[in-house]
Symmetry: D3
Subunit: 269 residues, 6 copies
């Protein structure tokens, strides 16, 4: 199973995915039918164990759909475990400083180096001898390093964070970002839009892929792709199901003359 | 956790549900938000183990959403195991003869009687002494006996099957039924519609609740509720998610000027 | 792991056990500390999967505590699967006829013979050539065949059932038996006591071990051991925990001057 | 599922619970029958995965029994994951300094704030603008922050720890505390009692709920409730079962004239 | 995931596989590296649940390695469940009569027909109208029907069994067969060899693929391929590991001058 | 279950083990038949959950085979959790400084002490009063503290690391070590051999047991035992199976005149 997604985003192609939280293997048919490029497995918020992550990574990978896993915190050992389990990309949440990014790059691009030697290499990559450099490049080929930009401190240090060599992609986290901005869940707020626009622009300028994860209608994705985002990270199985179920049941109830609960249709899971 | 759904369908109320195949407990939020009356767990086609069924039954039951479980074949021991696991109703597939129905009723209404004594009671319920009769009625209070009508032989013997005392509800299985009729998946075929109409009518005449399980748009449900069905058994988590994901991704792709795969949007999972 | 329990019950020793439904491996400490001879795993009523049964059988067996598994119905293939999983004994529920017993013996004492050849051997064991007979005896050494006597029809055919060569032990099922007698849960009823006494006596006369499974206080076990039962099948983890928790919490609440719920202390889980 | 326990302990009511380590959903009947206010899930010592914790939290919560989860170490991300899984309260073990408490409060009362912004808010809560403050209060409504006091250093800094705004309750850990005092497991030692008494008094003075977790007879709980504890954290399923099983089996063995093992009846699991 | 193995065996190609009992997804690398055509999952003897079978089937299938599942007994519903889970082929054990084979074919080639209509079709396939026939052929395309020949009664009725239209392949079960012949485990016995030879020959004459499952050295497979077998069903993960581990450890121990246990190296797991 | 392996390695005996990644309980037969002293469970690289680790530890321990668990990073809480789950030994990866070793020793030899008091004891063990010292020694009896030496910085500080009182054994990690040396996977390189030799010698001089983990042929183990290693940590179930399967299938294919893939036989999983 070659890891092919990295090449795709390096070329600047749009890629399409959703967040999967159900670990039934039969679920994969939906993803395959929609010809997704990747699935997103979120171990920060969803109680997915390593074994389930491994099962899902191996399966989606065999189907040609790249598994990207969010780890609960930006610890290098967690990133390594996800690669061992079969992840193609690893996303670290709430990145706010350069040291976090460097350690994540260390885990994803210099495995199995660790400890003092790795710190040395991260400080001055030039110390790596060509043989070892090539070995590590092969060993880690195709691994994708993704970071979450989801707070104002991150926004303010964006250039510094993107400057770390090895960052391949950015996921903008709208919920945490809006809270950090003091305008919780106001995704149409002009300040919010300005920040997102800026992040997208800066990423694309440096050939870093970028997307924003909304659990809402496709319009949000369309909007931001038009602004330059090239990762479409659309909703999740649980949100799509819950929102559509509610709409369908409401429609049936109405047709049958029963009361419904339209007000909760905007629910974001 | 009182079992309350039986009283509801005995009153002739409409009840609403969907098929759940994901066993994440967080999934229950969608069902709760849509104010479902029941969830349907299909162990005939979906690889759900007894332990997962027990987890789901206990959870949905605690949330006030009645769990109805389809067993893979109409064996009484399977029905008993599902009640032990917390099911409120048990559905047996592809019922075609009176003996199957009687044994299912035996399992759901006369537990823990089994063997020769149960056969005797099923032949002539009058042999039950009042004390034991009352004990068994309490012991099995609220258990719902559902049968699948999904073949022409079943259709032809419908009265005979519904005559067995203790049948509470009928689920029509459109896929198997259409195959059995020689018109596979032609759900708009006049012959198919006639058969469905007849089953619904006969059931409601005898105060047997009735519904039909489609994994398609709400229109199918609306149509048949208007014809008298009072069980709305609408789609499944996997179908709703897969169909809607495809539509959403296609819409985004189109807006981005990419090719899509509209033809497969009718997919029924 | 030699299977040693059979020899013990053949000598007529008393053996001690409880029903375990928790599949945490740490649970085994309680069973070990109480120096149990066996644990009882009930796959008829408890949603234990084959994998969990295998985990528990291998663990308890390694600890020198014989695992006895009840299968949901007296089907030979289920008995074979439990032996494959590591069970030392297999209990079949609600036995009422000679054919069921013979097939169970076939599964437990003549594995891997099956089909026509096994039927032939069960009809006339003499057809087995000495070599094969010895091979099968070794292959199945230590396997224990247990049957549930838990209905009046079973009681009436007791001799016939015990006559089948290969039955090693009887578990009396008091709940089902009392229901079958029309005196549900009246375990002090003289008729109930007479039946139990008779079964115990008949079993011991034929060197068949016998016990009765109560989820109540130890007195019930003491009573019947004094009448000749040599299997102490005392309660279950879930019943012991639930009953004692209620007593403890009630005592604490009372001491704190709060209301309690003494009436439900008799609860039998 | 509203989170109601916090209001109860804020009123100073007594609350009752036990530690549950079995993850069978059927186990919940015992807790429900005893009308427990909460169950305690200990992921520090018991191998419970996130998925099982989520299953148990969702189930107990739906039954109106608040799930409180101990995390293995006082890391904020672990606290957040347990809230995501459905916990109502999170207990952090072996708290010894103010910074640990502040970060725990951050995780439980200011989600989804993290990183630099959260540190700033924890230093000077006044920086929070009213809108955001209200949003966060709603978002985290009912979350309970519990800390373990189980060492002499913690005891010595008790006021400092309790001074952190947001601490709702204290669990005293008698085993670790007695070891830290150099008098391991001597729970009747006057020094031990003095320390416990002091902690209870100080907590209640500040309207912080407090309890002590013993896996022994109810007397320990009664004793400390009389001294002011208002959380009854009584034993665990595994301890209650193991202790009572041993007593029962010993009683049966004695009545049958067999040797027993009374000495180990004091066992604390 | 197209099902391609059936076409391969219909062409008479040799196919290669092993039995997999470990359900770690990482295990698949070994199978892939050996370029296996199929893996064999044995739910008769190995405690694999439906969920694990589904996980393994979906994964191996996505890797282009066809999953073949043995069901515990030749019941049609079990065959259907395995196809639902993703199996490409289903093997039924200990087949001894024509009715068993017909029902298995019914499950694998005429799904979703069941009940009376299916019985009718199995009696006289000509009753199937062309439209429905084509629908069913598409619906079941690539499903492989395999039967176990592992007893003398089966051997004696071989022609009758192979005559049922729809049987695609035969697995010879050497252990059960040798026991049924009264020469247990004597796989070099001339009588045993004669029977195997005959079965292979008859199968190949009718274009039915055939193989024999040994958990021993490759020589057994080579021998029988040379006699005409075209399915290489070589050993299992558990046997290969156990046998090779013992050899390796023995070799190391010997080199270190320690005692070893050579006698058990022949062990067949 | 007494923990006996520590005494054995303190005597300087050779001990034999393999790495187990399959969590089927039936797998244990292979380990038992090879009379292993220990099994190695690697939670750093293999997705084994705590529950599976607990199952495996309890089972192997009951079989008299000591479970040694590698934790993903040298955090004391992880070591404690593995002991709680039943591990006899805990291995921490990539140790490079004295503080890591001291904290690991703290977790394994001074449980349940933690926090400030433990730091104090680790600085100056003499502060422990005799009573508490004895209590802790009993409480932690038989726990084995193992460290991974797998980098040049570790090699350079070897004496300093081994000087920490409480280190019982060293596992050399050849892959990481060779990468750290800039000669990846060159296990026959003279520099590599010199380093290994030195580590073995130093460990044995201080009565610290030592071994090196290869997933290759037994020769590697024999070589290093002859140089003084007394822990034989030979391969893994997944490597033994994958390597031998490939050899066997290649041999069969060759005998059948088909192409094979000899070049990949050296694969190291």
């Amino acid at each position: 199973m070659k890891k092919l997604l990295l090449a795709k985003i390096k070329r600047g192609d749009n890629i399409y995915g959703t967040c999967i939280s159900s670990f039934s293997p039969l679920w994969s048919k939906g993803a395959k039918n929609a010809k997704l490029d990747f699935v997103f497995l979120d171990t920060e918020h969803i109680p997915l164990e390593r074994m389930e992550v491994a099962n899902l990574c191996q399966l989606y990978s065999a189907l040609g759909i790249a598994p990207i896993v969010r780890i609960p915190s930006p610890e290098p050992i967690l990133a390594c475990q996800m690669i061992d389990a079969g992840a193609e990309g690893v996303l670290a949440p709430y990145i706010e400083n350069r040291q976090q990014v460097k350690e994540l790059v260390g885990a994803l691009k210099y495995r199995p180096l660790k400890g003092e030697k790795l710190q040395e290499v991260l400080e001055s990559p030039a110390v790596l001898k060509p043989d070892l450099k090539e070995y590590l490049a092969n060993y880690n080929q195709g691994n994708i390093c993704l970071i979450n930009i989801e707070s104002m401190p991150a926004f303010e240090k964006l250039d510094e964070l993107l400057n770390v060599s090895g960052v391949d992609a950015v996921f903008i986290g709208p919920h945490d970002l809006s809270v950090s901005m003091g305008i919780p869940e106001q995704y149409d707020h002009p300040e919010f839009e300005k920040v997102v626009q800026f992040v997208i622009q800066r990423c694309r300028e440096r050939n870093v892929a970028v997307g924003i994860h909304f659990s809402e209608t496709p319009d949000r994705q369309i909007r931001w792709v038009k602004e330059g985002a090239n990762i479409v990270m659309h909703s999740s199985d649980i949100a799509i199901f819950s929102q559509q179920l509610l709409k369908d049941i409401n429609r049936i109830r109405e047709s049958c003359g029963e009361e419904t609960n339209r007000s909760s249709e905007d629910l974001i899971v």
